[in-house]
């Protein structure tokens, strides 16, 4: 169906040309072009509004801004907290172990010495003065054992208590999983709303560092434990 305004303008143009009125004909041409332009702008305006509305609805449903401003920095902080807590627990545990090891080594050595002496006594290879000496050494050993046992007990308790990080880090990690889930949902919504197509997947180079592997059993390109590493290397002649 022909636009009435255009038809009028076209007739007027024709009329002006026929009458040799060049100036007026130019004016009409400008008006026709302007009319077309304004319709184009109207279309663009309509599309822009539609896109804006659709993005706004995605935004309000998923609160992307909120996620970016609050939840993601919060998640980063939480994960740093996990690193700190686990590092702290590892160090506390190793501190306790470093306290206990020399103590247990001392006990072992001294007990070994006393055992030897006792065997000599049983084989009747010990005279009275040596026997008395052994008696004193035994008393010393038992005293030491008492205080060393305390040290060991304390150390072991410290190790036990150092495991308290797991519950805290577990809770924190769960919260981060929630945030990741929200981000995933929002991104899916956004992709749907804007009709963005998934591009070709970024290929991770086979030698790029990835940290510890998950679900190793399902991955053909990952080895499963030191034995597999050794087998792979010897099969290649290394």
């Amino acid at each position: 169906m022909v636009n009435a305004t255009r038809l009028d303008l076209a007739n007027e143009f024709l009329d002006a040309i026929q009458k040799g009125n060049e100036e007026h004909a130019d004016e009409i041409l400008v008006m026709i072009a302007a009319e077309r332009e304004s319709r184009l702008f109207e279309e663009i305006g309509k599309l822009t509004r539609e896109l804006h509305d659709s993005l706004a609805s995605v935004q309000s449903e998923s609160d992307l801004a909120g996620i970016a401003e609050n939840d993601i920095p919060d998640a980063k902080e939480r994960l740093n907290f996990v690193i700190e807590k686990t590092e702290d627990a590892a160090n506390r545990t190793m501190d306790a172990v470093e306290d206990i090891l020399p103590v247990s080594e001392t006990i072992r050595t001294r007990a070994g010495q006393l055992q030897e002496e006792w065997s000599r006594f049983q084989r009747r290879e010990m005279d009275v003065s040596k026997f008395k000496k052994m008696g004193n050494e035994l008393v010393d050993f038992l005293d030491e054992l008492n205080s060393n046992s305390d040290k060991i007990y304390t150390g072991l308790n410290n190790i036990l208590m150092a495991q308290d990080y797991q519950d805290l880090t577990g809770q924190v990690i769960r919260k981060v999983i929630e945030v990741v889930q929200q981000v995933e949902d929002s991104l899916v919504g956004l992709i749907r709303a804007t009709g963005v197509q998934a591009g070709p997947r970024k290929v991770v180079s086979e030698i790029e560092a990835e940290g510890p592997q998950m679900n190793v059993g399902n991955k053909y390109n990952v080895v499963n434990g030191q034995d597999d590493v050794d087998d792979l290397l010897s099969s290649l002649g290394f």
């Binding site: 590092e87 590892a90 160090n91 190793m94 470093e98 086979e206 030698i207 560092a209 990835e210 940290g211 510890p212 592997q213 190793v216 390109n221 990952v222 080895v223 499963n224 434990g225 030191q226 590493v229 792979l232 290397l233 290649l236 290394f238």
Partner: protein
């Protein structure tokens, strides 16, 4: 294999460096130094006098694999025995490290026994004439 040999331990996590240092001490190796990245390790190695390098792969500044390649190409360091101790376990990575001249590859988590075994094996090979 000299128990007094000077060993450089390179890992970006201080807890892992501590573990390895302790395990080495239990094996009788008390002459150890540490670096937290390939980048900080290199000047230490170049300053000289290290007999053994134990390094992680995944480090933010310079990765262990790159440190290894630089060491093997370096006139003063090319024969330095290198043991990688890492969580990286893709087949291609293990092959890459072997081809770059690593002397041993231990994956995390590992046991004290494995560490000892690999160190012994490295120095056995070095000291046995081919």
């Amino acid at each position: 294999m000299n128990k007094d040999m000077k060993i450089l331990i390179v890992d970006d996590f201080s807890t892992m460096r501590r573990i390895i240092k302790n395990l080495l001490r239990d094996l009788g190796f008390t002459n150890t130094d540490e670096a937290d990245d390939g980048q900080t390790a290199l000047p230490k190695l170049e300053a000289g006098s290290f007999d053994f390098l134990v390094t992680d792969w995944n480090m933010p500044g310079m990765q262990g694999i790159d440190l290894l390649k630089i060491v093997r190409a370096h006139p003063d360091l090319k024969d330095l025995p290198v043991l990688m101790v890492t969580a990286e376990s893709k087949r291609e990575q293990i092959i890459e490290a072997a081809q770059a001249g690593v002397n041993g590859y231990v994956v995390k988590p590992f046991t004290a026994g494995t560490l000892k075994e690999k160190i012994d094996k490295i120095f056995e090979r070095i000291e046995t004439p081919a």
